[in-house]
Amino acid sequence: MTERIREIRFSSFRGLPDYTCKLNGKNISIFGGTGKGKSAIVDGIEFFFSGSLCRFHGEGSGNIDADKAIRHVLKEEQPSVELAFIPTNESVRRRLSDYSIPTATHSSIQEYINQHPPAGAFVLRRSQLLEFIHDQDAKRYQKYTRLLGLDDIDAAQKSFVDAEEMIKTHHFECQQRLSDALQLFIDPDMDWKPADLSAVLTKCAEVAQPFGVDTLTEWQQLDSAISVLDTRRSKETKQRIDKLNLAIDHLEVETPSEIESIVAAVNQLHGQLSKMQAESEEAVRGGVIEEGLKYFREHPDITKCPLCEQKLEEGYQAVFERLAERNRALGELRDLETQRSQKLDALITALQRLLDQLAKEQEQDHGIYPEKDAQILVKHHEALQEWMKLIKSVKEQKSYKDVTVPPVVEAVRSIRSIIHDSLVKERTALIQPDAVALEKAVGFLQRAKEKEPEIRARESALADSLKLWHAMRDIREAFSRARESAVQAVFNKIAKKVLSYYHKLHNSDDSNESSECTDLGLTSTSRAAAGGLQLAIQFLGIVDSYDPRAFLSEGHLDSLGLCRYLATVRMFNNSGSLLVLDDVLTSIDREHRHRVAELLLEDFSDFQLVVTTHDEYWFNLLQSKVLARGEQDKWRFKQIAKWTLEKGPESAAYEGTWDWIETNLVEENYRELGGSLRLMLEDFLKRVADKIELKVKYHIAGKYVAGDFNFAGIRDELRERLIEEAPNEESEIQKDISRVFGTGDLINFLSHDNPDRLEVTLTETKDFVNGLKSLEQRCKIHKLIKGISL
């Protein structure tokens, strides 16, 4: 990202009625006491990017009226926050009524806005430091779901599981088909049931053997075995008996028996669904909610409802959670819908099998069936085709009316039974008593001959389906393990970064400090497919894999929370984006704040930082670190001196004035700086005098000028105190004192209101400015100056 924020303009926004925070493309550190409007500035940044403030929504937000809370209490105008950019001179404003961030004209600015993650991923407040540590495993996992795109991977995982289930179901269907084909060979008299095709062949050999068939071990021998038996049969009756055998075999294949039970199950589901539909108007919107969830997942930053186009009263997260909760509540309804759909599919399949069975029987009738019965069968077939149409329309229309099994289903069974009995009777009459065993053997062998190709195909299909199932199981397992290992590898990397930051803060040779937390793990739990992430530490190299809360102090937990956040920002957020830290160092001691400052300056130099604090020590510390690194051109340090309802925050005078002086310290403008320089000098002298308790001549009006302090001996007093604090810097201190106090009436020379003013050079002015800055810095370091004053 090439763009940086030049300034942020707040209008009627919370405690900022009309306020501009200037960054000039730099990082900014804002210092101010409690209630001075620092957090409102952070709120404004969050508002700009998300359109709301997350703490006013969701759990724990009570009855807060979010819109009201965003408005300035005295202002009627629409609250707005505007970001002005550099180097592209364009600003983008967001008003409370805006559903989304207005589009920027320049693509670089639009890109800047688009590439920022949701505000929670770059704005850290003190209250959120421990959030991740206290979170449940599932919540922790969710925090990385979007960042790592885990939703997609988890969806793929589910698809692999579903694919295995599909193939497994297919295998069981193949098993059932084989079983159905073998059913024809069941011999109830001998309680015999073949397990496979080879058992059928063995049985063929067994029944043919009494009739002179000695060898029947191969299917190719079946024809000759049938021929052997055929020679023993009656020539007059065998042709008719063969036809009857074929027809009877078909009729002995049972019609699907599950039709009635499926219909009963469908009706039960319809009853439940009708009741739920009547009880919950929202039930019918289940699909809409699912769509809504999908939409929100894909558009995490929207603030307008995609359906009604109204502004979302709550932030995205709250709406998402509410929808998810509603979605869970409707889970049962959706499950019932799915079950209904599956049952109707099963009914359609069973009915189709029955229709196919009847069609085949009609095709092979060849005048064997009694004519009247054959005609009845044709009519029943047509009636069943009509019922099939009806069932399909029930499924399509999602009607929950009861389904009735038409009488034709039972009538088909009945007529087939009648035909079967009639054919069996005819066959019995044709077979002489001494030929019963022979004809039975012939019938068995003929049946085996007819069914052998079909059974062989079904056995082959079953073997293939088993092989496919096992392959699919390996594939699902491969994806599952690869997913686990990849997710873990990435979490290990994140954990390593968190630990490295934590060690930066807590391992120090200088102070002989070593980190309490010697190792850290982010582990996908066994429930990872549903989403779980465990946080554990190793404590002092002794206790392994333990919840950090069990061992770490509050301060260490805070710094662990900070390190986790910063590591995530470093690893996921774009270079050049914002990082906002709102008063997050409260419970971290001074020494560790040094290291936090170093961490920020070293590892986040490519971010634009906004750091707020009410801690003067931290503010000064960060400033001195910046100066020590020679990076003052990359930072602005802003002090808020006071806040009023009418005016909002007011900066400490000198802070803004220094900017003015620095900007105008050039040949063309420096002669205009007299007033500002006097203000700065007097501000400095007042604060030093206050701190060192200098006895100054009392003025009833409270207006003190530089002369008052000079007269009171501030020059000598300050010099002595500074040398006492830093004796080895005596010559530099002397030099600074003379640069500020030894320039005579430099400021008067520069002032417009001095009619006798003389020319002062730019170099002399710069020397004075540098001397004053240096003295002020020395006073800050040695605590010889009060913090803020106007």
Partner: protein, 78 residues
């Protein structure tokens, strides 16, 4: 899901950041391929097709079944 062949690396003022999202997908794709190759039940052709499938925007169960069977028709429709 889309799996990039290679993880993406950004550099910002000397601070190196790696696109973990891409890296996760790269590790997943490599590991998946390795594990498929180790299975005696999965052919080289199936392995290739499955690895290609991971580059798709989203993966459905019927897509996986088609990829494994090599059929346009889903097995469930047999």
């Amino acid at each position: 899901m889309t799996v990039d062949a290679e993880g993406q690396t950004n550099s910002g003022q000397g601070v190196e950041t790696t696109d973990l999202k891409s890296e996760l997908r790269r590790i997943l794709a490599e590991d998946f391929k390795k594990r498929l190759t180790q299975s005696e039940l999965i052919s080289a052709e199936q392995c290739k097709r499955l690895c290609n499938l991971l580059t798709e925007e989203s993966i459905s169960a019927p897509d996986i079944v088609k990829t494994v069977t090599g059929d346009e028709e889903s097995t469930a429709d047999d």
